[in-house]
């Protein structure tokens, strides 16, 4: 079948790479650089296995051995807890769950322990760990498709990253691994563009030039992907791509939108958003999460507090409705913010 051809294709070392390749490269570089970096997770290093649910860790156990690429039982709470404990003990673990939805099983260890031990110790301890988690609806229904960033954004002591493309993915993951704080690292399943057996059929073909040279992307720096005068569109993960597509349509209709990829939610680059809103006077947030209590709600609140006088229209959010993620593709397409909805809301704002 065509997949095997694709997997076997020769790819030049420098060139366009997928998110999966970029993330794998980040892990490999950091593991080569620092022997304290270890990986913990389900199915991540098994010979003949899949390199984690989405192939990110494929090949790493061959290079680094099972002492550093540690296959765990299906024990999400202990994966998170052991990662936090190992971080306290001087390692820099990168743990993952196969689907972000399983983070709820690890919630106590992340929210009560990893996030709070530095604080409870009066600043004496650090928990330098990364927890990678695939998110996003991909016709797997309610327990394999949620967007979970907002849950973790609400917990003081946790950092939250959510890259939209391979270049950011690599640079942010390397930064996350070097960060002395616990970082939740969210990866969108449709952005993996993975080569191999688990390629997402409906995945976006997102590749990027990813330098071979060392680079890091600091947390807390949003990226203005498109400069515009009429309306500010703030998005993350897959919604960045839908927003860019929508903005292309809007451009043809004479609407000049500015698109900001937040890249990290904690820390959040408020200044870039405020600056943009003060310029355009209009703001919409596009997120795949459920509307109520999503990260967009926080953006609305902060902008209302800091930029109210600059707004020419009410702030709008394009988000999933407050339902579980549905299964049927026809319902899922309705559920996930679409390019059409983004266009319609933007036009509404400019009406």
């Amino acid at each position: 079948m065509s997949l095997s051809t694709e997997a076997g294709a020769v790819r030049p070392r420098v060139g366009e790479v997928t998110m999966v390749e970029a993330l794998r490269e980040a892990l490999r570089e950091e593991m080569r650089r620092d022997h304290r970096v270890i990986l913990l997770g389900e199915d991540i290093g098994i010979e003949g296995g899949f390199g984690g649910a989405f192939t990110v860790t494929l090949g790493l156990s061959e290079e680094f051995g099972h002492r550093r690429v540690i296959d765990t039982p299906i024990s999400e709470a202990a994966i998170a807890g052991l990662a936090a404990g190992a971080a306290l003990g001087g390692l820099r673990p990168v743990a993952d769950v196969q689907y972000g939805d399983f983070l709820f099983l690890a919630m106590d260890q992340l929210a009560n322990h990893a996030a709070k031990l530095r604080y409870m110790s009066g600043g004496k301890l650090a928990v330098p760990m990364v927890f990678r988690a695939p998110v996003g609806a991909t016709t797997r229904g309610s327990q394999h498709g949620q967007s979970l960033e907002a849950f973790f954004m609400h917990v003081p002591g946790l950092k939250v990253a959510c890259p939209s493309n391979p270049y950011d993915g690599k640079g942010l993951l390397k930064t996350a691994i070097r960060d002395d704080n616990p970082v939740l690292f969210f990866e969108h399943k449709l952005l993996y563009g993975s080569k191999g057996a688990r390629k997402e059929k409906s995945g976006f073909q997102v590749t990027a030039m990813v330098p071979e040279d060392e680079y890091l992307i600091p947390f807390g720096q949003a990226k203005v992907l498109r400069s515009g005068q009429d309306v500010t569109v703030v998005a993350n993960l897959l919604m960045v791509h839908k927003s860019m597509e929508a903005v292309g349509i809007l451009e043809k209709q004479g609407i000049d939108a500015e698109v900001i990829d937040v890249r990290t939610l904690v820390p959040f680059d408020w200044e870039t958003v405020f600056y943009s809103v003060r310029k355009t006077g209009r703001l919409m947030i596009v997120e795949e999460d459920n509307l109520t209590g999503g990260w967009g709600a926080e953006v609305v609140a902060r902008v209302a507090e800091s930029c109210m006088g600059y707004l020419d229209a009410p702030i709008r959010r394009v988000a999933a409705p407050d339902t579980p993620v549905p299964f049927a593709p026809v319902m899922e397409n309705f559920y996930i913010p679409s390019v059409e909805r983004i266009v319609a809301v933007a036009r509404d704002l400019l009406a």
């Binding site: 002492r67 404990g85 003990g89 260890q109």
Partner: protein, 323 residues
């Protein structure tokens, strides 16, 4: 215990440490009743032999994890009594700079992580810390304290299994004090001993008289040696009893006076005092002198804590992240 090579000085040290644990708790109890300490407290009078027996078998760079009932663990591990008392007084000089409180006392430099007050929450952390020891080839171990109640939470299973499959240098120390808050262990566990569960993970398990400090010490010496030699974890169940209620508001009506009296008749400190006196290691003068030293140490700790500066209100904003 004949198998442990404890000399007289070591025995007196363990006795002294147990008395310090007891008197620390009793002084804290009265400070609490007098309204001089904020928050809540979970006291451990009666459980001194578990804390001291385990911690006396540890090396300086070993680590312990603790629970919502951590005072005796901290005292036994050698966390500064001044720092502990100041923490309970919510002073800036506290061992957690007043950001922890009673349920989170600890000092990693002294070999104790901040106590974990989510039941069972510390078990994976302990295994993870042991993973770091193993990975970094450090000859150290983790002693993970938890109660009988924690043996029924999922993290117990997940973490014991992982520690077992990877031979992690950790000793799981279940202080079975017979009640999870007010719920008797028989009501929530079908098997007779928590240690029976060790077989499910393929690791050794033992039930030990938790009121006999030398028995506890001996069992920990064996488990610790095993862990240090790379042979993996052990599950120790130490049968003991807390004389006080679960927390400050608990009069303990779910326990019969007869049961409480029977356990008080096996007070670990009184037992050890009688034992060491019979062996002529302790005498009345020595006991009195130790008691006086400890009162003096606690008087000074309380005095310093009361005199110490409070944190500034806005200090609550720091230490969330490493900058």
């Amino acid at each position: 215990m004949s198998e442990t090579s404890l000399d007289a000085a070591h025995r007196v040290k363990m006795y002294r440490r147990m008395v310090l644990c007891r008197r620390f708790e009793e002084r804290v109890y009265y400070l609490f009743l007098e309204g001089r300490l904020p928050g809540t407290i979970h006291q451990s009078q009666g459980q001194e032999a578990t804390a001291v027996g385990i911690c006396s078998a540890l090396e300086a760079k070993d680590m312990i994890t603790s629970t919502h009932r951590p005072h005796s663990h901290a005292v036994a591990r050698g966390v500064s009594v001044d720092g502990l008392m100041a923490e309970l007084f919510a002073k800036a000089t506290g061992c957690c700079r007043a950001k922890g409180g009673s349920m989170h006392v600890g000092d990693a430099d002294a070999g104790m992580l901040p106590a974990i007050a989510i039941v069972g929450g510390g078990i994976p952390l302990a295994a993870g810390y042991a993973l770091a020891f193993q990975y970094l080839n450090q000859p150290n171990i983790v002693a993970c304290f938890f109660g009988d109640g924690a043996a029924n939470i999922g993290t117990f299973h997940e973490a014991l299994n992982m520690a077992a499959i990877w031979d992690l240098p950790v000793v799981f120390v279940c202080e079975n004090n017979k009640y999870a808050a007010s719920t008797a262990v028989e009501k929530v566990m079908k098997i007779k001993h928590v240690s029976d569960r060790a077989a499910a993970y393929g690791i050794p398990g033992a039930t030990v008289d938790g009121n006999d400090v030398e028995a506890v010490y001996g069992s920990m010496i064996r488990a610790a040696a095993r862990a240090r030699q790379g042979q993996g974890p052990t599950l120790l169940e130490l049968e003991t009893y807390r004389f006080a209620g679960h927390s400050r508001s608990d009069p303990g009506h779910y326990r019969t006076p007869e049961e409480v009296a029977a356990w008080k008749g096996r007070d670990p400190i009184a037992l050890y005092e009688a034992n060491l006196s019979a062996q002529r290691i302790l005498d009345r003068d020595k006991i009195t002198a130790i008691a006086a030293e400890i009162e003096d140490q606690l008087d000074r700790a309380i005095g310093r804590a009361e005199q110490a500066e409070s944190p500034r209100p806005e200090d609550c904003l720091t230490d969330v992240f490493v900058n």
